[in-house]
């Protein structure tokens, strides 16, 4: 991009290339490196979100985006006669439950990855990363085969004269599916958080006679908190928008909010209503993400500098 004839002394103090100077813009090297990604994200992420917001204020059942402005979509959603609030309640409640269960499941594993497993850590990490590369519907369908009548569990129990309880197509199995799907999303940020706790600090506290509970509460937990919070946020946000678990395992016994959004966009062709629902979900997500992100120092978490 730049055609410096003199040896480059410092990338930062480099004169701007002819092109940028001609435009009157003096972009720093960092900003220039960021610009392709930024441009792509503006077109591929920001623009779709703005379109959704535009549709949310369009006349119901039309495609008059940015041409009409009405609050009718939101009025319909907040009308007590509309039962869509139940989908919101289910999605948020199940997402919350997913986070709580995963905190308990993942903490010992994350602790083990940082302090116990030693040279096995890398292998165990890969074992928990790999499922991310198998699409969730394949993995969830495997659970259907496990729990279904004459499936793996039922077949095994029948061998000893029992029969499997009917667990499929219930809210509980939906929660199970969500916990299962989002496990890695909790585990790895949590591991990152725990790896920020210096081992010698714990040693020192132990030498001074601190109990294990005290060490955990006063040292480990506060220092690992950024990673734990990222994991909790990531899991909550993804679970709040989850839909495959309720469809494949839950058999629609619970209608998730993403399902309602999908129906509005596809079968009922009411894009403004679907967009209004999506905007409400986005407000919850953005509110949580922004609050947390504002407090985090990503350089410290990722780079440990």
């Amino acid at each position: 991009m730049s055609d410096a004839t003199l040896p480059v002394v410092d990338a930062e103090s480099q004169p701007a290339s002819r092109l940028t100077r001609w435009r009157g813009l003096r972009l720093s090297t960092g900003a220039r490196c960021a610009s392709p990604v930024a441009l792509f994200m503006a077109l591929g992420f920001l623009a779709p979100l703005i379109t959704v917001i535009g549709f949310a204020f369009a006349t119901p059942r039309t495609f008059a985006v940015f041409k009409s402005f009405t609050l009718q979509n939101f009025a319909e959603i907040f009308d007590p006669a509309d039962t869509v609030w139940m989908s919101f309640a289910w999605s948020l409640a199940l997402a919350f439950a997913t986070v709580v269960v995963l905190l308990v499941i993942c903490y010992p594993i994350a602790y083990g990855l940082v302090r116990v497993f030693g040279r096995w850590s890398a292998l165990i990490s890969i074992a928990f990363v790999f499922p991310l590369f198998i699409s969730e519907n394949v993995r969830l369908y495997g659970w259907t085969l496990f729990f279904i009548n004459h499936g793996v569990l039922d077949g095994l129990l029948q061998e000893i004269g029992l029969s499997a309880p009917d667990v499929l197509f219930s809210p509980a199995i939906t929660l199970f599916g969500m916990v299962y799907t989002y496990l890695s999303f909790m585990l790895f940020p949590m591991t990152l958080g725990l790896s920020m706790v210096p081992g010698d600090l714990i040693e020192a506290a132990r030498d001074f006679g601190a109990s294990r509970l005290m060490i955990w509460r006063e040292i480990e937990l506060p220092l690992a908190m950024p990673g734990i919070l990222i994991g909790a946020l990531l899991t909550f946000v993804l679970a709040a928008g989850a839909v495959a678990e309720a469809k494949i395992l839950g058999g629609q016994s619970v209608i998730m909010i993403s399902h309602d959004i999908e129906i509005a966009f596809t079968y009922s062709q009411n894009w403004p209503r679907g967009s209004a629902l999506a905007v409400l979900l986005m407000i919850v997500i953005a509110g949580l993400s922004m609050t947390l992100m504002a407090r985090l120092d990503l350089d410290r978490i990722l780079g440990r500098r």
């Binding site: 490196c33 591929g44 198998i134 495997g142 499936g151 839909v243 997500i285």
Partner: protein, 267 residues
Amino acid sequence: MDTTRPRRTHSLIWVWTLFVALVVYLPVVCGALAGLSKGRYFLFPIRAFSFEWWQKTLDSLEIQRIVENSILIALIVTVVSLALAFFGALAFARYDWRGRRLYQKLLLLPIFFPQPVLGLALLLWFNTLGIQPSWHTAIVAHLVWIVPVVTLVIAIQVYGFDPAMEEAAADLGASRWMILRDVTLPILWPGIWSGALFAFLLSWGNFPLSLYTAGADSTVPKWLYSKMVAGYTPMVPALGTMSTLAAATLLLLGGAIAGFVRARRNR
């Protein structure tokens, strides 16, 4: 202080981790069994094993086409996301510039966004632009989610990179291109390599984005889903298992190549 307690805790942690890992892979095993059992419907314990459904899956022209779709999408996603994410990661972790903190946080937003909603938002956007959804638009959708992931993966490598190396090369008169080729890329390649594996495999296994943005075209996960909802055949678990095995093979191969290159360099 007694040392038996921590040791007991450690074995409990081992047992718990192995148990959870077992549970994680249990449905994958169930799928593999279903794909290998003879007969139209899945019954356990399996009465007879056969490769009948694997053979049918391999013979199907329809499946051949969607596998080609999936591979092509994943390849393009890998190349484009590496190009964007390499510079994106330098901006994320290497250079100190005004707006970096904001950039870091905004870039993470697509990861912190439910994919079904992202897919639907993109569908709306493509329609508004008058673009017919197809496997081309699915590439864009995958990129929106995968570029931030790959940027993070490479950025973690960049954090461990000492900028003084580049400066030293510059002091010795190396051109920008030479610095990039002989200093920056060789140091960062482990991150770039894992970024490439992540990009390919995440695209290969992605379901929600493909579902809403691929239009009439199908990918492997999307085809599997359509058959799960209506018209189950044992080809579904058979193809699911093959897709998993393909991903595992690629991951192993990728790891082996990385190990091989590292070993040769250290010699």
